[in-house]
Amino acid sequence: MGKMEGVALRKSGALLRLISSFFVGSLVAAACAPATTTPGASASSNPTSTGIVASDKTFVFGIGQNPVGGCDGTQITVTVPVGNCPLLNQEGLVRFDEVTKSVAPSLATSWTFDGTSATFKLRQNVKFQDGTPFNADAVVFNYRRVWDTTFAANTGVKFPLVATIPIASVEKIDDATVKVNFKTARSDTMLLMTTFPAFIQSPTAVQKTTPADYAFHPVGTGPYKVTSYADASRFELQRDDSYWGTKPAAAKIVIVVKQDSAALVSDLLSGAIDASLAPSLEQIDQIKAAGMTIQASPSLVFYGANFNVTRAPFNDPKIRQAAEYAIDKESVTALSKGSAKPMYGAVVDGMREYNADVPAYKYDPKMSGTILDGLGWTLPAGGKVRMKGGQPLHIDVIQRTGYTGNTTLLTPLIVSNLQDVGFEVKTVTVEQALQYTAQGYYDINKWDLAVGGWSASIPDAGTMLGNMLTANWPTVGFNLGHYTNPQVDQKVAAAGASFDEKTHDQLLKDAQLLVRTDAPFLWIFQNQSMVAFNPAKVAAAPFRLGGQLDMLRLQLK
């Protein structure tokens, strides 16, 4: 399932677009095959606790973007990388275990799932941070608050990501059991239940104040209490020592927001902060020279450009392939100082369903030239632009304003590389705010290549391929170039309906091969989540695949 992120995101290396859509998702990781009971895993189910030692230290973390909309997980519009606060303060019934890469128990100790409904056994003796009990009533309240528009607590509140999980209704079976009914039968539903809209808030706290205020004073069951959030440029969380699960390392977390990444870097070097998210590329060498550690972790974010397949020249798949070969993807690693990795196909490597046998579009400008020559697009003597029948090989590339971090290299790289093989490139710029509107990318007459990025919100390949599906043309989804291939659609849909892992994976691998030949997207790089930290204070700083620093698995010195 893909998600799109609002345009409010700023200086971090990961600019995400999350789509709230109806892609046919795909399978959940192995541990949770449907129609069976899940891991009756033991009580210490929270983050794998090896190496995590609860200390009395404060961890100061610098990020570059103002957290949008407060700390109520159900109310946020953008999840990466600013979803930090809800992840520390609140929990859902299930969570995604980054180590085993599967759905694991959290506030629910076990569950059954048959596709259309799931019954959860709730964890006993858990209290919210305000002392009120966590029980079935609380779960019902929360799910109705988000999904039931007739419910009182639902009025006047924004729940932007509500459509991502197809919850139809929720019933209390008894104080420790809850049944959730879903609108559609999908194999990735349990994965979706680990995401933000399903986070549980304290009903008492929610009802005590207005939604706008609650967002800045949330009360969940998680290991950290929000002690100060009034100043969105700096907020503080305190570990709640009565937390039911494994206590994380930091006793206090301070999150500092500075839009200028250079300022964060100097804070890191001076010891004022312990870690900095997405350090500015230009300063990575300086950071390393000062003895700090730079760590790159895989994420689900990737960047490139959509081809407009409805008109010349990119209505010809061969010309699209020529463009793929023209891009020096291998250089992105160096150019981005390790915050980006070349991407050759539709699915990031690291997904279980990744098809390593798909031939990669490696940098080969000569091959581009050969293809274009073969199609009649030739370079006149001494000229730089290919001509055919007196017409130049002209394309319009559309981009938005406000690129930061490694996304600043997208348009320059594309334009420069394509010019090198003989395209005549004109750049069109739209305001960031207008990017996904009819005045921007949705006007397919304006462009031949649309620069952008995308991300799945849950780690499965069917979701990643969602960007290539016919059902996801604008304005519903982000298949901006109006690409369509019924075979691909069919394979992905079948994978989504399939509960057998082998079949599911094979279908997606086939889909990847088809998509490779069609080349509907100019794949350039997979984003790596970058963090720079002080090795004298931090032993390990793991990341979630979703792009947030996993402060629950932090290890301090």
Binding site: L335, L409, P412, L413, V415, S416, N417, T429
Partner: protein
């Protein structure tokens, strides 16, 4: 009333000498500006790499490198080439708002000063309102409304010097209004338009031109500021303000990237200001 030095009668021989000495500053300034224009015209011949040519293997080369005499940026793009690519934008940014701002401002000022009464008061009120917005705020509003782009930045800049120009020409018009030749022509039956165009305009023109010329230099600097904060020219188009902003990110590792364009902005702006200023002093025009 005006700060002019009194003109004294000089012997003829001294005049020739004074021409050169009086004008040497102007020649130098003109020379600098002309140099940039010529370099821009010849850019394809004097640069090896284009301004948008990304070459990862040539990233962050220092000043004096082969092929990139001023160094390269983080993507391997040649700074000299990018500087030259910025010439038309930066010069346009200076000249257009200065002269359009003067043309429109002068028109408003003439009308207000000549009409007097309610019309004048209304115009002055509107000008006062515009003046509550320091330049940068107008630019911010325009960018917020119309989006950040080259054209919108020029609109913002033009709007912000309008009031000052209008006021200036208005006060000149006011003092000219009651002079005899105006009264005479009115008595002779000339309509307001004729009076304005045939009598007032020629008298305010010298001031208008000098002020506008002085403004060119200031406009270049101001609009570079807009580009610096991202409200002007958008990438991949390049102007000097954008270059400084890009370079600021590398201030620790490659300070040339920020300081070379800064020096260029300063040099070109100063040249325009010196040129206008010098000519004003020589012509002895009222300010």
């Amino acid at each position: 009333m005006s700060a002019i030095t009194a003109t004294r009668v000089r012997p003829a021989r001294a005049v020739a000498v004074n021409f050169a000495t009086l004008h040497w500053r102007s020649f130098t300034a003109l020379g600098v500006i002309a140099l940039f224009v010529v370099l821009w015209l010849a850019r394809d011949m004097i640069t090896i790499y284009g301004p948008s040519s990304v070459r990862p293997s040539r990233a962050l080369l220092p000043i004096g490198s082969a092929g990139s005499p001023l160094g390269t940026d983080g993507f391997g793009r040649d700074l000299f080439s990018r500087l030259l690519a910025g010439v038309p934008f930066s010069l346009l940014f200076g000249a257009v708002p200065a002269f359009v701002g003067m043309a429109v401002g002068a028109a408003i000022g003439l009308v207000a000063g000549f009409a007097g009464g309610k019309v004048d008061r209304a115009i002055v009120a509107i000008l006062d309102v515009l003046l509550t917005f320091p330049f940068i705020l107008l630019a911010i509003i325009v960018s917020a409304v119309l989006g950040a782009s080259l054209q919108n930045a020029m609109i913002a800049v033009t709007l912000s010097i309008l009031p000052k120009n209008a006021r200036l020409i208005r006060s000149q018009t006011l003092s000219l209004k009651h002079r005899e030749f105006i009264t005479a022509s009115e008595l002779a039956g000339a309509g307001p338009v004729a009076v304005i165009v045939r009598h007032l305009l020629p008298n305010v023109l010298p001031t208008a031109l000098i002020v506008a010329s002085t403004d060119v230099g200031l406009m270049i600097t101001l609009t570079a500021g807009l580009s610096f904060i991202g409200l002007g020219v958008q990438p991949p188009d390049v102007d000097w303000g954008v270059l400084v902003a890009d370079g600021a990110r590398y201030i620790t590792s490659a300070p040339n990237l920020a300081f070379v364009p800064s020096i260029v902005i300063a040099l070109v702006s100063t040249s325009f200001v010196v040129l206008a200023d010098n000519e004003r002093r020589i012509l002895g025009a009222r300010q």
